[in-house]
Amino acid sequence: MDFRPLNDTERRQLIGALRGNADSGTALLMDRRDTSFLGVSDEVPDEEVINAIKSVPCHY
């Protein structure tokens, strides 16, 4: 496996991602081939969207 030090940008992203994971449970994405850090998930879950749609109030 090829180990190399992260550059500043990568370190910032990783630190921010770890902070987001600790603070709000943001998912950390990992490369399945070499387990390297791929970023964070900002996907919105289906349930969140569907529940919000189903509860839109009547408008007048």
Binding site: R11, R12, Q13, G16, G20, V49, I53, C58, H59
Partner: protein, 346 residues
Amino acid sequence: MPTGFDTFPLSVYDGVGSKRRLEGVPRIRLTRWLYEMLERWQRGLADWAGGPPADRIPSKTLCEIGPSPAPNYKPLRRVLLTEGVARTLFDEYSDHRLSERGTEETGWLLLGWRDEDEAVIRATLPAGADREAGEAHVRFNSTAQAVASRIARQSDRRLALLGVVHTHPGSLRHPSDGDFRGDIRWVGQLRGGEGVFGIGTANGDGPEEIEQPRASVQRRGGMTFCWYSLREGARRYQPIPVEIVDGPDLAQPLRATWAVIEGNAERLERLARQQSRLGFEVALPSGLAAVVPLADGTMLRAVLTKEGVRYFLVRNGELLASELHEPRVDRGIYRLLADLADGDES
């Protein structure tokens, strides 16, 4: 008291000064005390030597608080509409006014990206033909909108529900008290606890191209959309600046097949909840395909049109039509899955 000494109350000691053994109470260990002293010596030596070399200290940028990957939502500062979304709103409002139900209220859901302090609206979902509406209210066909949101989000999972646009028949360009009572309870579940709301009105003439007499107002052809935001716990809506940016309305391709979506919405939504790998494709000119991938690489494909539902098996790039005639798409798919499990592909 110095670290390493115990703090037992006097009652722990017996009359001759020797400590009684207490169950569960840690004892002072000589090795632990020596390690502690060693650590203090090391720290003292490090301070005396001047600390670690500069290249071992993280750069200042790393010591600062970096940008949070999970947006730390702030109050919305502005709303960005793609050009396609703005065109959809004006075009469909215009069509609605000319329709048989033109005196009723209508509306759209707004899907898009919620960034830290701005919202980017990238798709609209119409109220639907099966909406419940009159001259003073509108309730959307939410089941059809739920299915449509699943289809629109296949290409962009960042799309979230951002808010609602609805029209008023008169000249009231502000959400009503009734709107507020419903919206203030609803916005808490949106990202950032804040929603975007548009009010459409129509009176008089106007420019042929979209213009903005005020930052939160858009006009075209006698129609006006006034934009507001509402935060959880707020007392009133706030006008919010809108800007138009390049880009399509990502849900516009669904308009051609909206009648099919509405006609099968309950069954499609149930199927989507039960089959996590279910996907949808717009089948031109006005159909919708529901696709269920199977374990062996084959796919079950149900093509829904106004005329009915046809079922296919896609295997090795070959399309095999099924003889099944089942207008209820969920029942049809489960019947074919059962047949496939039995080895019957007719």
